[in-house]
Symmetry: C2
Subunit: 139 residues, 2 copies
């Protein structure tokens, strides 16, 4: 089983695309003015207009609040979490929770992208990254 | 770049876990009463209490509305979309948009999980799946 594509609904596809490119995401040539697809070694990341996404799914749009979804990037060390977090803020992300030791034994912070989508930046010593950067889940 | 983990905030972790297990997702032994991690060949899928997720991220919880996020599973054929969609509904998903031909040249429908998280079930002939089930994005 896999998630093939994660689509984030955004107010301005061009502005959100520029933000993610500053973070280091690389755009596929399949992208156009309405939709962006970023290369990923996990699930593909897409950007699409928020209203268009609601319309595509046949659901009513609503005021953005807490989405109930968090995406996470994991790093091999606390220092790399700090560096990536600082870089994201330089790129225009909103710092939401500074990286800190957390109760489950790891180190984690959160940023919000320009549309409020939450990204956790974490180091999880209990699920080390393999040589392809994947979290190692116990069976 | 990769998304390591996609966490969905849910009202009842046990009920949501049972739903995803019926769909065929396989739970890691790292799961406990508060959090579930599902094995995935893409980004790991996690379930966590919605209020706990908001608290972890230091953001206010809000009434669930349109999350602005859609996750997608892609299938090699329209028939497989139909079969997976029907199976999801049998497993307790809410059918939101029946699978149908869509403007971008594919075939797509949406279900909602018990917490309203949207999943697109799609066949995309423009981005065929490779032998590991990954969407092939043009450079």
């Amino acid at each position: 089983m896999r998630v093939n594509l994660i689509t984030l609904g955004v107010a301005d596809v061009a502005a959100a695309t520029a933000f993610y490119e500053r973070l280091g995401w690389r755009k596929s040539s399949a992208s156009n003015a309405d939709v962006t697809f970023f290369h990923s070694s996990g699930s593909v990341l897409g950007l699409y207009g928020r209203a268009a996404l609601a319309e595509d799914a046949h659901v009513p749009d609503s005021e953005p609040g807490f989405s109930g979804v968090a995406l996470a990037r994991n790093f091999p060390s606390e220092a790399e979490v700090d560096a990536a977090f600082a870089h994201a803020v330089q790129c225009g992300a909103t710092p939401v929770k500074s990286p800190q030791k957390v109760f489950w034994g790891g180190y984690s912070g959160y940023i919000a992208d320009p549309d409020g989508h939450l990204w956790e930046y974490a180091h999880n010593p209990l699920m080390p990254l393999d040589d392809q950067g994947r979290m190692t889940l116990p069976e």
